[in-house]
């Protein structure tokens, strides 16, 4: 779960790291009021889950209240790489002497945690990695031992930060690792971590991705409430379905993440465009199937539906009954093509047989079902 910058800063602050005072607002008047309380100059910063905010005009320096009003009106509603700005973070402006970069994430190959620290912050780390890879000091942290002090000191020295702040940097990095580990983050990144004229290290930007699986240890409801989702994704999420909205016209329902991914691929391969990825999991009973069909049915772009089920433990006749019952409950706008295979597939197909029509079709293989559903979607569109 990606946090907004201001939430990331709240997260860091809760682990004792130095962040600037600021307020999250959603209106121009709110921005002005916040700036008056904080005292100008302030930064007006778009809160979106994407990079490149600065280049897109989403981060502005406001020396006075008039500038706050101007910038806030310009940035609210701005489209940054497809993300519409709805939240602003108004923060007390900081003077900057140096800009550093630091992050922790999992190195999936090494199966340990990877820390990256650089004296060249403030630019995209991918750029630094290409142009001057030696400027990034890396450490691999054993998840059992954690980040040890002596290891952390060597890391700071390797990164060539200002020697005056070595101890301060160590303290901050140990806290950052603690936040990453105890806070169950998949990623923590500070870019830039700044050195102020007063010689203080300070968190100026925050990128945090929390692990949704760790919800039993942390209260994530406040962060979940502000997750931007399209309406389809929100509806599916509420029903406990694994759904990713795509931009095509063939609605896709599968029992399994790998199979769903594979189905999206096959629809593309035969020249169609899938409207979504939807995994209903192992059960595939009538309730789950009806919920999935409702979500697909409410997507106005969907012109045909491809249900691709492989019975493992789930038996074919259960799946067939689920589909039949779900169709009785939900009035489906688009024709459905079913591919049913695996355990007791013959029994399942026999149950579906009497219900077949030009609204409900069956295909013997995944490929043929994909072709039929794509042809139906194309026919409806033309």
């Amino acid at each position: 779960m990606d946090l907004f910058e201001y939430q990331g800063k709240q997260f860091f602050a809760s682990y004792g790291m130095p962040v600037s005072p600021g307020e999250a607002v959603t209106t121009v008047d709110g921005a002005v009021a916040a700036a008056e309380r904080l005292g100008t100059p302030v930064m007006v910063k778009a809160q979106v889950h994407t990079g490149g905010r600065g280049k897109a005009g989403g981060v502005k320096f406001a020396p006075d209240i008039d500038a706050v009003r101007t910038h806030a009106s310009n940035i609210l509603g701005l489209d940054i790489r497809g993300h519409i700005v709805q939240n602003l973070w108004i923060e007390k402006a900081s003077d900057i002497v140096e800009e550093y970069y630091v992050s922790f994430t999992l190195d999936r190959s090494a199966k340990t945690h990877l820390g990256m620290l650089s004296a060249k912050g403030g630019v995209e780390i991918e750029t630094v990695a290409v142009e001057s890879p030696d400027a990034i000091a890396k450490i691999w942290v054993d998840p059992v031992d954690g980040l040890r002090e002596e290891q952390c000191r060597q890391w700071v020295l390797d990164a060539n930060l200002n020697p005056d702040v070595t101890d301060q940097a160590m303290e901050l990095l140990l806290k950052l690792y603690w936040a990453y580990n105890v806070g169950d983050a998949d990623l923590v990144e500070i870019n830039p971590l700044i050195l102020t004229p007063e010689g203080q290290l300070h968190v100026l930007d925050a990128k945090v991705t929390l692990d949704g699986n760790a919800g039993f240890r942390h209260d994530l409801t406040a962060f979940e409430a502000t997750q931007p989702r399209d309406e389809r994704e929100a509806a599916a999420h509420a029903k406990g379905l694994q759904y990713v909205g795509l931009e095509g016209s063939v609605g896709v329902i599968d029992n399994g993440a790998g199979l769903a991914m594979s189905t999206v691929d096959v629809v593309n391969q035969v020249g169609g465009k899938p409207a979504n990825f939807l995994d209903i999991g192992g059960g595939a009973n009538a309730d789950v199937m009806a919920g999935a069909l409702e979500v697909i049915n409410n997507d106005p772009d969907v012109q045909s539906i491809f249900i691709n089920i492989f019975g493992g433990i789930t038996r074919g006749e259960e799946v067939a009954n689920g589909i039949i019952e779900a169709m009785n409950r939900v009035d489906i706008a688009s024709p459905i093509v079913i591919r049913l295979d695996g355990t007791n597939a013959d029994e399942g197909r026999a149950l579906l047989e009497p219900h077949l029509s030009d609204r409900l079709m069956m295909a013997p293989t995944m490929l043929e079902a994909a072709r039929e559903s794509v042809a139906l979607a194309d026919g409806a569109a033309s």
């Binding site: 199966k111 760790a214 399994g256 790998g258 999206v264 990825f277 493992g312």
Partner: protein, 294 residues
């Protein structure tokens, strides 16, 4: 032969008294797996349909000779369940549970590696493994697999694993062992572990590998195959058209920063001499040709 588990494997189920553990534990027993024990500290001395319940894995191992543990404990308890199983003395720990936090996975993976280097971990978030006709541990439907060989299967995805087993059975091709390594960020057993074991296994003559987007496990497997695997390998990779930045169901299945794409994985595998199917059924067809030429 088979890899990791066979007819002599004795399994203790952590969580046998829960609904999922009981359901699949009994299905595994019906298949013919030696289901010898369950654990639950509050129900030691009782039984589940004749299978004795012990307070700990150590007690179960001592009393029954169990050498594999299968974990159906809810996500919050998996970290301590895995450590308990390792200390308890089993050789293989199979974690079916999904939704285990990444930091827990990284912790117990490295803890086992350091302190219990001879204990194999499979999963979390995996369907388990089956050596058809010998042992089925986890949630795979046993009857969709044909006994014998010559094909070994290793897969990151549950349903696509079943699909592969089923396609091979339809073509009358048997399977030595089918291992689901799971789709999480820190899988206990990797493609490489399975490829190495299949290479050593005399009855496995070809390997089917099913990967998906995210991470670099398939690329690492390709390097390993080029250097170490003499047997033919056929692969399918799911997620060719997955949009970047979207997690496709599994925690580990995400293309980010241009890394982990299906195309890069296919290219790496093809360069290592692996034959690639563009769909699961095409991979099945290719495997049928490979088997016919063995």
């Amino acid at each position: 032969m088979s890899i990791f588990v066979d007819e002599n494997t004795k399994v203790v189920y952590q969580g046998l008294t829960g609904s999922q553990g009981r359901y699949y534990g009994m299905l595994n027993r019906d298949y013919g797996t030696q289901v010898v024990a369950g654990t639950n500290p509050k129900k030691a001395g009782t039984d589940v349909e004749g299978v004795p319940i012990f307070a700990s894995v150590a007690d179960a191992v001592e009393a029954t000779g169990a050498n594999v543990s299968c974990v159906f404990i809810p996500a919050a308890g998996v970290r301590s369940a895995v450590l308990e199983a390792a200390v308890g003395g089993v050789e293989l720990i199979v974690v079916i549970t999904e939704g285990v936090p990444m930091h827990d996975e990284a912790y117990f993976y490295n803890k086992l590696k350091a302190e219990h280097p001879h204990v194999r971990l499979l999963g979390p978030n995996c369907p388990g493994l089956i050596s058809p006709g010998k042992a089925n541990i986890g949630i795979t439907a046993g009857h969709i697999a044909k006994e014998g060989g010559p094909v070994g299967i290793v897969s990151r995805s549950g349903t696509l694993t079943y699909q592969a087993l089923y396609e091979l059975k339809q073509k009358d091709i048997g399977c030595t062992t089918c291992v689901g390594i799971g789709g999480d960020p820190v899988p206990g057993t990797s493609f490489i572990d399975c490829l190495a074991a299949f290479e050593e296994d005399p009855e496995t003559e070809a390997v089917m590998m099913i990967g998906e987007i995210g991470g670099s496990a398939e690329e690492e497997a390709a390097e390993f195959i080029a250097a170490n695997v003499s047997k033919p390998v056929v692969a399918y990779i799911a997620g060719l058209t997955a949009p970047p930045g979207k997690k496709m169901g599994h925690a580990g299945a995400i293309v980010s920063g241009g890394k982990g794409t299906a195309q890069a994985k296919m290219d790496a595998l093809a360069a290592a001499g692996v034959q690639i199917g563009q769909s699961p059924s095409e991979a099945g067809d290719i495997m049928a040709e490979v088997v016919a030429q063995l």
